[in-house]
Each structure stands twice: as structure tokens, then as C-alpha cells.
Amino acid sequence: MCLAIPGRLIERWLGVGEVPFGRVAFGSVRREVCLAYTPEAELGAYLIVHVGFAIQVLDQRAAREALALWEAIEDS
């Protein structure tokens, strides 16, 4: 159930009760997502989405650093 999948924010708007919503692309699949918990998310950001809610903005630098660590090991 804790799928928490990353996807890219491609559109945003205000929904019922001024709650921010957005459209998030997971590869070729697009879904409407509630942004109430990540109102700071900008277009193009990668969001971690779980049961229709963005629960965090993905830290792209931390992701690249984690991967670079393994690339460096592979190259050595």
C-alpha cells in the first residue's frame, strides 16, 4: 500500500476549498494529485505520491549523490 512513487509535476491548480492540486506524470501515466502537503512544489519537480497525495518533494540532488556513490564504486 505504501507505494510512494515518484512522478513529475506538469500542471497545478486550486481545487475545492482552495486546496492545491496538480497533474503528475509517472512515465506515460498521468494522475491528479492533491498538493495540500507539498504546496511549495513547482512545475517540473518530482513528487513522491501515495494514494493520491504528494507526501514529499523528491530531493534530486540527494538522489544524484546516492547514485554517484555507486557509479564511483563501479568505475574503481
Binding site: 505504501c2 513522491i48 530531493d59 555507486w70
Partner: protein
């Protein structure tokens, strides 16, 4: 970069497993408590990529599996009430309650629908003003903010025909109970990345200190798990016991404060029964009295017969505590399969038995 496939890179996975093998000098038992991690471990055959000294034990990381049969029975009885639409996540429909599952209730005429977000249940309530829509929601800290927001929005917009039956549970108190058990043999822990994405890590330093045990917050892609295991065995080999966040792209120490605040506005912390563990002190969430009208458990008075756990051949209690490996259960793959499950761990997409069956198949 889509932040998915990169964390499944075979070259990086190989490098991580080699690093673990180069670090380990003795036997270590490490528990993960996250159904997503359990499934990834089986799907990617990670035990085969690890040195034999590293034993992985699967904890109660599947919220559907730890939901007591009585709660499923309560949902089933509410679903059978006139003019009710019961909405739940797909996993819940086939979980056996004390008297059958929600799919069987649907066959008896109940209107049971699958939703992928609690907000879908609000949309159903708006579309069916003449009926009561009950959201049946279980889950860990990752899911509770979504349920909380649905309840808060229903209250704010005066959506009188919406209510929620919730079985949300809290992971840290259950971990504490498991580690304090006299038969505990776990020496290091991977903490669930998705849970910490919301909850942060404030609950872990006391556990690290009390049990002198490394806790590493890890994601659930194969590279995330191996990287987390490497961090864990490095600590174990050096005699360290620290909290470490190895899933920094998603987990900040404070989690998501907005999500936590919404959960706190809607729910209060209560002692709660976990299937397999018994009552866990502070292990669950209950809708606050101020929002009691939106609590389906209080709006509908249904009588729940006690569960006859002894009559069930499902050994979920032992599987959920990491004492019995799914494949060691005599019913595994024989009387109990995903098509005809005896218990929740074989049903849920996060259940340990389903993970073993799907990725290892029937016993020979």
C-alpha cells in the same frame, strides 16, 4: 532520470552486494518492517545476492495484514447496511474477516467499490447524495494523512453523507514491542522509507538507545535496500548503534510537518490491536471525538462476534513477528494461495506470504 530505474541498475546492485560481502565477518540478523521492501527483497532475489551470514527477517510491514479480522467484519457489516456505499483500497476486498470478505459481501448485494485515493470516496459521496459513502481505510503513517485530509475536507464542506471506518496504525510502537520480546534475535533494523517520508525520524533515537541497535532508514528499490543493508552491517561490524537516513531523496528528519499536523488534528493516539502482536500501546489512531459524526465505527452500531483465531489455519501471527518464514508454513502454496487465501499476508500486495508465493512459487 525518473528516479525509479536508476535504483534498479544491475551494475550498482552488484557493486552494493559486493560491498556488503566485503564488510561482513560474522552472522547478522536484520529485520525490515515495510511490505514494499519485503516484496522488493523477494522480487529481486536479494537474499541470493547477500553473503550467507546476513539473514533478513520480515517484520509486520503490511498494514492490511495487521488489521484484525474484527475490523474487516465491521466493514463487511456496514457494507451490508441499506443505502451504504463502502469504498476501500483493492487489497482490503479479499482479506478474510471473521465471517467472510468484502467481495463476498458484494456478491450478497452490498455496494463495495475500489478507490485508489480517499478523495475518490469524497467524490462518490458528492455524486450519491441519497446514500452514505463509508471510506474503509487502513494503513501506516504514510496513508493516514490522506484519510485525515478526506475527513477534514468532508467536515469543512459539510458533506453529511460521508464517514470513515479507519484502522490506521503506528509503526514505531509496534517495533518497540517486537524488539522488547524475550525471543527477539534481530540485531539491526531497516526502517520503512515511505513511513519516515511523512513521519520523520524523531521516534527512532530512543529505540536506538534503548536496544543499542542500528536503525537505517531505507527506500524500497533494490539498490536502496542493499545500500541500507550495507550501512547497517557497517555499523554492526564496528559496534556502532546509530540512526542513519540512507534514503535522503525522500526523507527529511522532520518528515512532512503539514501532513503530520493534519493527522494530529483529525486523530488521537490510542492503544490498538495488531493482528499477530496483540494490543500495541499507542499503536493506533482513532478519529477525535469532535469529529465523531464522521467516524463510521460510531455512526453505525454493528455487533462484531469475537474472532475464532484458533479455528483458522493461518499462522499470520508468527509470520508477522518474523518467527515463521512464509515458505515454512504447512499451508503455504497448498491450502493457502493468492486465489484462495487463508489469511491477509497471502492477499495483500505487501504481504510476506504473497511476496514469497509470487516470486518463489509453490513449494516443490
Amino acid at each position: 532520470m525518473r528516479y525509479v530505474d536508476e535504483f534498479r541498475s544491475p551494475a550498482a546492485i552488484r557493486a552494493a552486494s559486493e560491498a556488503i560481502a566485503a564488510t561482513v565477518t560474522r552472522r547478522w540478523t536484520i529485520m525490515e518492517i515495510c511490505g514494499g521492501q519485503t516484496h522488493a527483497i523477494m522480487r529481486w532475489s536479494l537474499p541470493e545476492l547477500l553473503p550467507e551470514q546476513v539473514e533478513l527477517v520480515h517484520g509486520p510491514g503490511c498494514p492490511v495484514c495487521v488489521t484484525p479480522a474484527e475490523v474487516v467484519e465491521q466493514a463487511r457489516q456496514i457494507a451490508l447496511q441499506p443505502d451504504v456505499i463502502l469504498a476501500s483500497f483493492g487489497d482490503m476486498l479479499r482479506v478474510p474477516g471473521t465471517r467472510g470478505d468484502l467481495l463476498a459481501a458484494r456478491a450478497e448485494g452490498a455496494d463495495v467499490r475500489v478507490v485508489t485515493s480517499p478523495l475518490d470516496a469524497l467524490a462518490l459521496a458528492r455524486a450519491h447524495a441519497d446514500r452514505t459513502v463509508v471510506l474503509f481505510a487502513v494503513g501506516f503513517e504514510t496513508t493516514a494523512p490522506a484519510t485525515a485530509m478526506a475527513i477534514e475536507l468532508a467536515a469543512a464542506t459539510g458533506l453529511g453523507n460521508f464517514a470513515a471506518l479507519t484502522g490506521h496504525v503506528r509503526v514505531a510502537p509496534a517495533i518497540e514491542l517486537l524488539l522488547a520480546a524475550p525471543d527477539n534475535r534481530v540485531q539491526g533494523r531497516l526502517a520503512a522509507g515511505p513511513v519516515c517520508t511523512v513521519e520523520g525520524v524523531a521516534e527512532y533515537p530512543p529505540l536506538v538507545e534503548r536496544f543499542a541497535m542500528p536503525v537505517v532508514v531505507a527506500g524500497f528499490k533494490p539498490l536502496d535496500i542493499l545500500s541500507g543493508l550495507l550501512a547497517c552491517v557497517r555499523q554492526l561490524e564496528s559496534g556502532a548503534a546509530r540512526l542513519e537516513i540512507d534514503y535522503r531523496r525522500a526523507v527529511r528528519p522532520e518528515g512532512n510537518p503539514r501532513a503530520r499536523a493534519c493527522v494530529e488534528r483529525v486523530f488521537e493516539i490510542v492503544d490498538a490491536p495488531w493482528r499477530g502482536l496483540g494490543v500495541v500501546p499507542a499503536g493506533g489512531l482513532r478519529i477525535r471525538d469532535a469529529l465523531a459524526e464522521l467516524d463510521a465505527g460510531r455512526r453505525f452500531s454493528v455487533t462484531i462476534p469475537g474472532a475464532d483465531e484458533l479455528a483458522s489455519r493461518c499462522r499470520a501471527a508468527e509470520v508477522l513477528r518474523g518467527i515463521l518464514r512464509p515458505s515454512e508454513c504447512p499451508e503455504f502454496g497448498r491450502a493457502c494461495t493468492p486465489e484462495r487465501p487463508l489469511g491477509a499476508p497471502m492477499v495483500s500486495s505487501e504481504g510476506a506470504c504473497a511476496a514469497y508465493f509470487r516470486h518463489r512459487g509453490r513449494p516443490s
